[in-house]
């Protein structure tokens, strides 16, 4: 056996001993799960955003009803409900999209 063959055998032995079947460290999967849990998107900010906008628009619609007597007809609940519902639906749709992404 010449020097090169001996060197190759030594290389194989040392590298196999050091590396063969090298595993991820213990606790690796648990660390991954922790990172995944931390990166989950919370729907809470979107829900609060939606509630906030609905409240603002409710106040605006009540002020409109107060200052514009013309709106105080038999259809005013539909008008007020529409103003509240539209942004609520918009923010609901936006929230679902954000969570899906």
């Amino acid at each position: 056996m010449n020097d090169d063959e001996r060197a190759l055998r030594m290389i194989d032995q040392e590298l196999d001993a050091a590396l063969a079947g090298l595993s991820a460290p213990p606790g690796f999967a648990a660390a991954v799960r922790r990172r995944v849990a931390a990166s989950r998107v919370s729907p809470l900010p979107e829900i609060l955003d939606s509630i906030g906008w609905a409240a603002v628009l409710t106040i605006v619609s009540l002020l409109l009803l107060w200052f514009v007597p013309m709106l105080r007809g038999p259809w005013w609940p539909v008008f007020a409900g529409g103003i509240v519902m539209m942004p609520a639906l918009f923010y609901g749709w936006r929230s679902i999209r954000a969570i899906a992404e």
Binding site: M10, L22, A24
Partner: protein, 167 residues
């Protein structure tokens, strides 16, 4: 949730392979662990959109390679070192006192670390994957012939370096 179960299955099946791929590409255990964790977070985010156009392993290895390339770029970009860093200060003190750096790795592993990057990756993965050319080719997305050629050349370089060191 179905995708959570699917993710758990992927994590159980690929955690060691992804860690080994990251270790081969980055050459550092701590960086490999950090990057492999990042790979699985990316997999978790992308799993609902996985349509099975490529095999699961091909898809996972592609994510892992991209994450490693990003980590390598980040490492190169942040290579500026501070003299306040304890490691740098210790090295400077050793140099001033004429002491050699502590030898932490066996000779052969150190020689592997001196190989060109592509050869180093192939050699490390070949031995980590219990000498499977097919696994190395799949993980690095290289043709089988290229893996064999690079491995042959790398081994010749290693043998020559070892003989020279011993003589």
């Amino acid at each position: 949730m179905a995708s959570d179960q699917q993710f758990e299955a992927v994590l159980a099946e690929y955690q060691h392979k992804v860690f080994r791929l990251c270790y081969a590409m980055l050459g550092d255990r701590a960086a490999a662990e950090e990057t492999a964790q990042e790979v699985f977070v990316r997999i978790w985010k992308a799993l609902p959109g996985y349509r099975g156009e490529s095999s699961m392993s091909t898809w996972i290895y592609a994510i892992a390679r991209n994450a490693c390339l990003t980590a390598m770029k980040r490492r190169t970009a942040g290579r500026a070192v501070s003299l306040e860093d304890p490691g740098v200060r210790a090295a400077a003190e050793r140099r001033a006192s004429g002491l050699p750096a502590p030898d932490r790795r066996p000779d052969v592993l150190r020689l592997v670390g001196e190989l060109p990057e592509n050869y180093r990756q192939v050699v490390l993965l070949y031995h980590m994957e219990e000498r499977s050319y097919e696994d190395v080719a799949a993980m690095l997305d290289l043709p089988l012939g290229t893996v064999k050629t690079w491995l042959h050349r790398a081994r010749q370089q290693l043998a020559a370096a070892l003989v020279e060191k011993q003589s």
